[in-house]
Subunit: 715 residues, 2 copies
């Protein structure tokens, strides 16, 4: 699996900083703070660089020594006679800044700062970190860390870390925001069939972030899958842009920790990173084509499959097994991950029946029976791979009396060479299958100890294949009346009002082409009556006040008004109620609204996530959103495909399709509203919250109506 | 972990068949079909019995040999000069019946039939199996199998199987309905820290079933946890009774495979077992106190924790770690499994602050930092175990530069000896922690490679502790009018009608004390008008016909009738509509019903599961049941606690509590209805389906109203 030099990063690609590459493939390395004392990090790092097989010159830097570990040492970076691509800095914290200055003067391309004691320790450390970054940036030097374990690149090869163990090379590029976790994974992987192309401990991410690495690895031929443990993302917008491109070329699998409320608190106290809400992360990952996994085990299980197998072209799974139990477990897991058991063609089934013993099961899962030798496995595997149906193959083996696991493994490896479908194995057991698993591994077939894990890995591959198939699509741009919105917002901000009144808020969405009921703002009883007559009965009266968010709760709404007399009564009642219950509220008037016909009530909402910015929400009205929390999210801007997914994703979607004799809703009109709100949020970043609740949906082609709108601004 | 003889099954316990014990602890064993040929099962089985350390006499039986594997052989079971407790039968299929006859004549107490070729092969095999059972039953002999791997008991010790490997002894008793899966698990476990007290391959379960083993293991001191892989349960009722008792004394953890529709099909083709619906299994397990796991890995992860650690007394988890990342992952997992991070007392926090370095995190998770030695771990562990809060402890260690994993493991083992709280470990990595993990294991501390798996195991323990705390409660019995129901049902059955009409169905639930609207059955227009006037307007008219299940769809319902004139019109309209749309339906009359006031619509349903019998369903009306599938299930009979759980389990429960300004519903009245329907189902097993839809719930104390009832019978 070692990658040929010709597959190295395409350095002609213009989009990323060339100096970033020096982190992985420097021509020369300086270890600043190199030491002779085996208890020091500076010893370990130099030893690792030396013994990793790094082909270029290595310069230990230490003012107190002439030679370190057999290499000539230099008193400072600037005193090194040749050019230095990468500096690994392990000096004590107070000395780091001057070393970075030296590196800048020496035109070092990239530095790894292993030293800790910066942002993670508090405001003073943060300040020191900022100074370092500022020096580095003005010199164009890239900095990984501080407070990190370092980098290992098995292709260069270079171990620029203090982790003792160099992993075996493989197609997985792994980055971790937790150094200790990364180190544990290195140790764990060493005992398993798991190698890495790159291993990066991100540390404090003062300069180089997860997005930078995604950028580089997207064009690195030695990287077959990007795998990441992340606790937070520093620049959500950039991450989305970079990841969206990277996932078109490489699978990106991320475990985002701090998922739950409790976990997020732990993240904050741990890294000081501001954790975005979990739903926003899920939405952003999905939109960017990133596969989000739920556990460390899943992260490496799926990375292993991605690194060694071609992608499935669909979701049909064929299982060949020598035991019923494990194939039932696998079948359960398949259904859970949205994989279907391939319905094999009759021709295949007939041929299986001819070649397998009479008691064998010839429908998927294919059970070759407990006494099956490699030949029966071969017959079954060849036949199912020749079937036009079937996107992936899972070979299960339990060690039974006559089982020849080793030769069966050879059969699987052979089959792998002759197909472009992914094959994964679940040879269960330990001593009975150990050498067989080694054979599989050498042949590029990942093996999982339990069927559920094998199927989960295939599920992740199928998910990625599906995401990759999505057409590249830009958000639609609608012709809208931006000026009108600008005016409304300017007026509110000028008045120092964070909230628009209901009438203003409706104007804003109307200006973006979202249908609202006919309405007029009445500032007197007579105006109200006149407006009602013009609009046509029945009407609704609603107080218009930027200070009253919950209008119903203060008696500010009257519905189903049928006549001028009722308008008068309602007008007076609202004025009286509001005067009592919201005496200090500024009242802009009383809105007179055409009463919307009944339809299916939905909600479209907008809020701001600290990491990703505007997040759009969709759901059915009332209980569905507030109790069942049956909602979908996407980060702004959204495409038409995103909007369609948002609508279909909610559990109550059948209601919109017309379940239980209800009229179906105009889905394309709802999609239209979602996309227009997305454009509104993009055009006006100052919108902090927007709620269209309800957005009443009617049967096609009758569209939707934004019956009530709330909007608040950041001032 | 080897258990002392005095802890062996309490043979005085009257409830289980003493002969069953002979399967595990026979005084003597005959191997019928013993062989000298190493390629034969009869060779392997005898070798395994001989080499397993079995302390009693072993009798090879084979008519063609005088001595086998150094032991005197006998031509038949009856020719053995002493008594035989257990016969292991490995003769060819056609010879099995006569061997079983011999065993019966010899008064053998139990037999293990390893030979296959019975029920699993089709009707002929099934017949042969029935004959065997019939012979065994009349002799009082118990039979395990046929078509199984056998039994291993590490306590006796006895390996009565053809699995080569005797597992190490431990508190886990494992049974498997898949022999091959069981064998793979034995092989897998051998390379891990996983031993078994008992290992049983259940085979075709012609006689001995999972329930029999539960019964025996409940009273076996060597069994700390019962662990099972099941594809189906033969007698759901018995399983529920047995498991309910067993789980009061031992944790029972089950992976029920064939969960999904596709998996169930695989089960059917595999074992011929009739798979009950998955929801019914989940309900039955929960009611019986069984822990249901979702994967093989979870099955063994949780079994390991149960077998070695005391139960937590609550759901508060304390984490001590030397790295932030893994503790965040653990915190996420804790929240997912309903565990809370212990809020430590100020005293503990203060003391932690005093004893740990300044940068350490002294709130849960406690981070002793990457360079922590065993002493800091000891300080933190001692302090958190001394805290009155906290039900379980998770110790996480990542191998870092100065980490002494081995000595830290000793600290954990030491702490385990001095606390009655469960402690589990997640020492991550491989070479760096290998000997430490061995130390942990020897000290009875389970270790998991990833934090998520450690927390999941603790979650299962907390779930079991919670289930165990439930009071033993019998279903309430209500005073009801059974005769009235009997009469209605008898009449319908006599007429060969599976469906009751809506009027009859309402009578049935009313006879069981469930409130229904005032109603009368009108057989003429005049009767209808008179009934409406007596009941009081508004009324509802509904056609009463056993042939019309969906009354609204044929125009058989008119609601909101306000006057005698409207009654007349509605009556005529219904008659006309039904005559056109259901011309052949038998019409019992037109029901005149008091119109129920609006309230919260719920659904109570009853159906029959093939394994467990009557299953009760509860949910909110309409979309919630049909689209969101937000329902809860329990097997009949239910207790008051079950009813309360059913109500609280649905996602929409806040709606019943009065979410979003709605009036709260009378929960105890809903519970009452559920319990009364449960009693009805118990009293009348012939009820095939019952739907109270809607059961309208009102604010307390105004109860509920069963507005529409459908009931069908098995004829």
């Amino acid at each position: 699996m070692v990658t040929k030099r010709s597959e190295r990063p395409d350095e002609r690609h213009p989009a990323f900083d060339q100096n970033l590459l020096a982190l992985f493939a420097p021509r020369s390395v300086a270890v600043v703070g190199a030491s002779r004392d085996p208890s020091k990090l500076g010893y370990l790092v130099l030893r690792n660089v030396r013994t990793s097989g790094f082909p270029g010159p290595i310069y230990p830097v230490n003012p107190g020594a002439r030679r370190i570990q057999g290499l000539p040492a230099y008193p400072s970076v600037v005193s090194i006679p040749s050019s230095v691509d990468l500096a690994i800095i392990v000096v004590p914290q107070p000395a780091v800044l001057s070393v970075v200055r030296d590196c800048a003067a020496k035109r070092v391309r990239a530095a790894i700062i292993i030293t800790s004691g910066f942002r993670e320790t508090g405001p003073l450390g943060a300040k020191a970190e900022e100074e370092i970054v500022s020096v580095a940036r003005s010199a164009g030097m890239r900095v990984l860390g501080p407070n990190c374990l370092g980098i290992i690149d098995t292709v260069t090869p270079l171990n620029a870390s203090f982790a003792a163990r160099m992993p075996s090379p493989n197609g997985i590029a792994f980055m971790s925001q937790s150094g200790a976790l990364g180190a544990a994974i290195l140790d764990w992987a060493a005992a398993r069939d798991l190698g890495f192309s790159k291993f990066v401990s991100l540390g404090n991410e003062a300069d180089v972030t997860e997005s930078d690495l995604l950028r580089v690895w997207e064009y690195d031929g030695s990287v077959r899958v990007v795998s990441a443990y992340l606790e937070g993302i520093s620049d959500g917008g950039r991450f989305r842009r970079v990841a969206s491109e990277a996932t078109r070329r490489r699978p990106v699998v991320i475990l985002k920790a701090g998922r739950t409320a409790a976990g997020s608190r732990a993240v904050v106290s741990h890294t000081g990173a501001l954790a975005g809400s979990d739903a926003a992360y899920s939405a952003a990952f999905r939109q960017a084509g990133v596969i989000r996994v739920q556990s460390l085990e899943e992260l490496f299980d799926s990375s292993l499959a991605f690194s060694s197998q071609p992608l499935p072209s669909g979701r049909e799974l064929t299982i060949v097994t020598n035991a019923g139990g494990p194939s039932i477990v696998a079948t359960d897991a398949a259904e859970m991950h949205g994989l279907k058991l391939t319905p094999l063609t009759h021709r295949t089934t007939d041929e299986l029946r001819r070649q397998l013993p009479p008691a064998a099961s010839v429908t998927n899962p294919i059970d070759v029976l407990g006494d099956a030798g490699p030949d029966l496995y071969r017959a079954a595997i060849d036949l199912v791979l020749a079937d036009p149906r079937g996107d992936a193959l899972l070979v299960i083996l339990t060690p039974q009396l006559k089982t020849d696991a080793e030769d069966t493994a050879r059969v699987v490896v052979e089959a792998h060479r002759q197909t472009n479908r992914p094959i994964i194995a679940c040879f269960m057991g330990s001593a009975g299958v150990r050498s067989a698993i080694a054979t599989l591994s050498a042949g590029g077939i990942p093996n999982y100890p339990f069927p559920e894990r094998a199927v989960a890995a295939l599920g992740a591959m199928a998910d990625y294949a599906d995401l990759k198939k999505r057409p590249t699509e830009r958000p639609r741009r609608f012709t809208v009346d931006q000026t009108r919105v600008r005016n409304v917002i300017t007026k509110a901000r000028a008045a120092g009002r964070p909230n628009l009144d209901s009438f203003e808020a409706a104007q804003v969405v109307a200006a973006y082409g979202i249908p609202i009921p006919r309405a007029a703002l009445a500032r007197s009883l007579d105006q109200a009556v006149q407006a009602a007559e013009e609009i046509g009965f029945p009407v609704v009266l609603k107080v218009a006040s930027p200070d009253i968010v919950h209008k119903s709760e203060v008696g500010g709404v009257r519905v189903g008004i049928q006549s001028p007399d009722e308008v008068r009564r309602a007008y007076d009642e609202i004025c009286a109620a509001v005067a009592v219950r919201a005496p200090s509220a500024r009242i802009d008037g009383i809105g007179v609204w055409a009463m919307a016909r009944a339809g299916t009530e939905t909600i479209v909402g907008l809020s701001v996530d600290p990491t990703f910015g505007h997040v759009l929400l969709f759901g059915l009205g009332g209980i569905f959103v507030e109790v069942i929390k049956d909602v979908s999210f996407r980060i702004v801007p959204i495409t038409s495909a995103d909007a369609a997914e948002m609508i279909r994703e909610i559990r109550a979607f059948p209601v919109l399709q017309g379940a239980r004799g209800r009229p179906p809703s105009d889905l394309s009109a709802i999609s239209d509203v979602l996309e227009r709100v997305s454009q509104l949020a993009e055009d006006f970043p100052e919108i902090r919250e927007l709620d269209i609740n309800p957005l009443v949906a009617y049967p096609p082609p009758r569209g939707t109506l934004a019956v009530d709108v709330r909007l608040s601004l950041s001032l």
